[in-house]
Symmetry: C2
Subunit: 167 residues, 2 copies
DNA sequence: GCCATATAGTTAGTGTCGCTAACTAAGTGA
DNA sequence: TCACTTAGTTAGCGACACTAACTATATGGC
């Protein structure tokens, strides 16, 4: 597997890398492949997750950890899920003591969630474990493949980024 | 900890591209980011899917289309899904007339599924529509980003590939 | 021929994740 | 005060995926 022959579309890839224009057709085909890969990989990741806390809970916890106390609405927006979903997510996190929920003093409709010490500990503990499977897969790649993937991670992040609110 | 936190890490990327070794640490961090991106993107894709046939049904249909008639077991293996899951999937596909199910003549335990004309038509019709959202996102990227992403799609496909059976 | 075992697929039951619609509770403003 | 808006919840649904246990069929030894 040292060689660079792309599995499905050698011609397309070569052309695209050297040639200036990516045709609409090329972009569409790429989208199809990306879609497929992402869907499958998401399932594989979920299958590997032994922790009992699925990717959703984890992502939410991690967001709360990274972006300070958030209202439920803010969290929902960041996670790009509907409000009822966040209610359930927070319920579970609270039930497990990973986040604390406090009502706003001035506006009693809003509630804020902040990570707890236990939540931080858990995040630390599982951060490695959770990606172990994927790390294993990555180790099977050669250096060139790893570099290509790394170069693309930024792009993936850009694609999924929440559209900026101009406040 | 000489350098800044590599959240969207230009530094890390530069190093990796020029430097020979990707440290274990770098690979682990990359895995974490990839995991996150993939999970979220999978959800976004599902949200965008108006077709009523989720990614799973679609993937299965596409596999049946591409790899001729398959037994349910073979299909489950290719889709990397447990047998009961495939039963349900095939049920739905059959109910919608997208695949045909025929019992094996010699071994009455096994059943084979093959794509129907209607299934092929539907695959054609929705192939574009299904990726429209993603294509839109991709069009917002600049050329360099597109190229980087394209270069990585092969790698993603390698990661999710079914481990080869030496038949 | 007959039983033990293996294989293919199904049924039953469970769990996660996510949605929409409809609701409660609380703040805002004419 | 009454209409409107906003934050979050409840209820009910559906897709997707699993494990455990089952049915039906095949196969191999004796």
């Amino acid at each position: 597997m040292t060689n660079a022959s792309p599995t499905s579309a050698p011609t397309l890839t070569d052309e695209a890398l050297t040639d200036e224009a990516l045709t609409d057709e090329a972009v569409t085909e790429m989208a199809g492949r990306l879609r497929f890969s992402v869907a499958r990989m998401a399932r594989l990741l979920r299958q590997q997750d032994q922790s009992g806390f699925g990717p959703t809970l984890n992502a939410a916890l991690s967001t709360v950890a990274g972006h300070g106390p958030l209202t439920l609405g803010e969290l929902a927006a960041r996670e790009q899920v509907a409000p009822p979903t966040i209610t359930k997510v927070v319920e579970k996190l609270v039930a497990n003591g990973l986040v604390a929920r406090t009502p706003d003093a001035h506006d009693r409709r809003v509630a804020r969630v902040a990570i707890t010490t236990k939540g931080e500990r858990q995040l630390q503990t599982y951060r490695t474990r959770r990606t172990a499977w994927l790390v294993g897969r990555l180790h099977e790649l050669d250096h060139d493949e790893l570099v290509r993937l790394l170069a693309a991670v930024d792009v993936l992040e850009a694609i999924i980024a929440v559209p900026e609110e101009h406040e």
